[in-house]
Symmetry: C2
Subunit: 435 residues, 2 copies
């Protein structure tokens, strides 16, 4: 419907011609005939902006308006939609989105940092201006999870949404498990393969996953995006030893982003998790992403695919352009931005779950009793404790798993145990997830 | 946007108050506040129709208009959308959809048979009348796969779409593998658990999966739905013996529906497949469904969830109602129905793939030579052949796997081998899929 081929083309200005910008350009050209059939009109690039006009990006920008200044692109009469593919939570990306909205242009972005920090504000501006703010590419790359959450599962109350949201971390954890190698070693390999940045902190410290989780939380629970409320831990401290213990206990270690309703509010957390080997998400390996949403009617649904890269991210950008070309729009975060409530954040100390803890202890009589005593004193119920081999007088790993308890009790227990002279390193704590 | 709470409610007439109809009623009531927030208007049920007005369905239909005749519901001024939840490819369901469209009502349906047989015709009628024909619930239950194909992956050329599309078959195959029991045995159990119908033919002979596949094919390739072109085989002939051989060879047996572009046209086939244990879809067990779509930019994406049942199916029906309430519509099969091309169907004889074949042969010298000779005569390249144990003079299973060959050569080979006096049963052929 609305498919008259005579409708005016949708005119797109692409700001940023890196991997995603150039990829989007290629997709729009390569699949132009199909897009015209599907949208009932053409989607054409009328303007582009980047730092260096002369750089060879494998695309032909002859005859397309060049803007040295991205902000000027957002003001062009010949642009209906600004594709913000520059990146960064503030600076030019934010100014560009604001300028585009102020000039009545739709905005399509792949920028998770921008949305995580300014999502609610930008959504309010866009909805007040009657334009779309679309960001399918900002979460889990090619996987159409924003559409699934906002439209496909619209009838459901979501109780929990979680996923493998960073391909770099998943690649590293997969490779560590398969090869038994150390984190630093595998990170260096990932960098040489282009799966990790030269400065990898953003990925491996969990910040990127937290940006995406904050967006999913808003979509799932009808609240403002609140990145600061995400509890974030990365994967630097995960060791081959923990990976081996995990396997022995029937788990795999994954960096998950998890948002859920609790008795204390909405919890948002990104950290390494022990997930049961029987859970489908345990089998998502390498650079793949996956998102699981639990709804009251639909039950559990899972979405899997590539979370980054030129093709998948461009696919998501073009999905948003297709929606706009078809004249479709929905509220940015599923409900009108004006109705988004502040997030009632549950403190991490109120988190309830099971725990894996590995201690390095001096192998001497009485250590188990000290550990058991600390657990008892804080009412933490132990599920299992194991020590392989013996090495009297030397440091050996002791692993314990607990039944469900709250994070505050667990933290207090660890503080008590660390006071023991027998404990020679900071204990390694990994939360066990019931999925 | 468009979210003024003053907008008139969307008025729904539900025809059919079975599991899905009653479930949709419950969801619309139970999550009414959330739906109002998301749609900017209420979704209200104004009329219902079913066989027996007095039956207790756990829903309160007091004050809602009752129609003994579903067709009269489709003509009511008080109805904007008809939810056709009666079922069946023809008869009342078809008349109802036609009547609703003719009266300017949107149609939402969970009816895969109706779409598989009359999809293109109904889509043309709906688009000519300017109303939506929405059917998220018709394919893979709660999984929002129609939306993903039609919108989320809109920028991609799809090369292949496939999936586990029937939960009953997947449950039976999972249970056979886990328990080692025979098909008939497990089917009886599935019937007692409510996972299989008293007359199970529709599910276990692959017809239900073929209906869904025909719809996915149209969405993926922009062609008319053509159910008659689907090659269909069910799971009755799968034996515990084949399941064990599959495991030994590194495969699991799944009933897949597969549609793909080939050199000979679009092939559509539903049959038991050997899938590598490393493929994610091999791990979809029990009643779960999964759909995989391969696109030229997005690469491989997978969608998993419950494919049937009250909650998941109602979730999908309400997703469609939400789209309509939000004023969103897209062409029924991704491109305008007027532009849908007839399907260029590839004949099954031109299918190219690898094969597993199990023969029951009399254990005597020379049998392998006969089999090998037949393969050579038809230029079929053998990958492996195996016979476990010996039982001179008695029938024993011999399994062979082939490299890629075409179906016509494979069929001719089997015909030749069956002429051997040593072969005592019809050989069991299962296609091996490279996923």
């Amino acid at each position: 419907m609305n498919a008259s081929p005579d409708r005016a083309p949708l005119r797109v200005g692409i700001a940023g011609l890196g991997t995603v910008g150039a990829g989007t350009f290629k997709l729009l050209a390569g699949n132009a005939d199909q897009l015209r059939a599907r949208c009932g009109r053409e989607i054409v690039v009328t303007a582009v902006s980047a730092r260096d006009q002369s750089k060879d990006r494998g695309i032909d920008i002859d005859g397309i308006q060049w803007c040295d200044d991205a902000l000027s692109l957002a003001k062009l009469d010949s642009v209906d939609v600004v594709a913000e593919l520059i990146g960064g939570s503030d600076g030019i990306a934010k100014s560009l989105a604001e300028t585009a909205i102020a000039n009545g242009k739709h905005v399509v972005t792949a920028n998770k940092a921008l949305l995580a920090h300014h999502g609610a504000t930008l959504a309010r501006a866009a909805e007040a201006a009657g334009v779309s703010l679309a960001y399918e590419a900002a979460v889990a790359g090619g996987i159409p999870i924003v559409k699934a959450m906002r439209e496909g599962l619209a009838g459901n109350r979501i109780s929990r949404v979680y996923g493998i949201l960073n391909g770099t971390c998943n690649y590293i954890l997969s490779a560590m498990r398969e090869s038994g190698r150390e984190f630093e070693d595998v990170l260096a390999e990932a960098q040489s393969l282009g799966y990790a940045e030269a400065d990898p902190a953003f990925d491996i410290d969990g910040v990127d996953a937290a940006h995406k989780l904050a967006i999913l939380t808003s979509l799932a629970f009808g609240c403002e995006v609140q990145f600061d409320a995400v509890h974030v831990e990365g994967i630097r401290s995960v060791s081959p030893l923990d990976i081996r213990f995990a396997e022995e206990l029937g788990y795999r270690i994954k960096l998950l982003g998890i948002a859920g309703r609790t008795d204390h509010g909405i919890e948002q957390r990104v950290h390494p998790c022990m997930v049961p080997i029987s859970a489908p998400i345990a089998h998502i390996e390498d650079v793949f992403n996956a998102v699981v949403a639990d709804g009251d009617y639909v039950d559990t649904t899972m979405y899997e695919g590539r979370g980054a890269g030129e093709g998948p991210t461009s696919s998501a950008v073009v999905a948003d352009l297709t929606d706009i070309a078809r004249g479709r729009s929905v509220p940015t975060f599923a409900i009108p931005a004006a109705d988004l409530a502040p997030l009632e954040a549950a403190p991490m100390s109120s988190h309830v779950g099971s725990y894996y803890v590995r201690f390095m202890v001096v192998d001497r009589p009485g250590v188990f009793a000290e550990i058991a005593g600390a657990l008892r004193d804080h009412s933490v119920s132990m599920e299992a404790i194991l020590q392989h081999g013996r090495d009297p007088g030397e440091a050996v790993p002791v692993v314990l798993t607990t039944h469900e308890t709250d994070e505050a009790s667990m933290t207090a227990t660890l503080t008590a145990i660390q006071k023991s002279e027998a404990v020679v390193e900071t204990p390694m704590l990994i939360r066990i997830e019931a999925l």
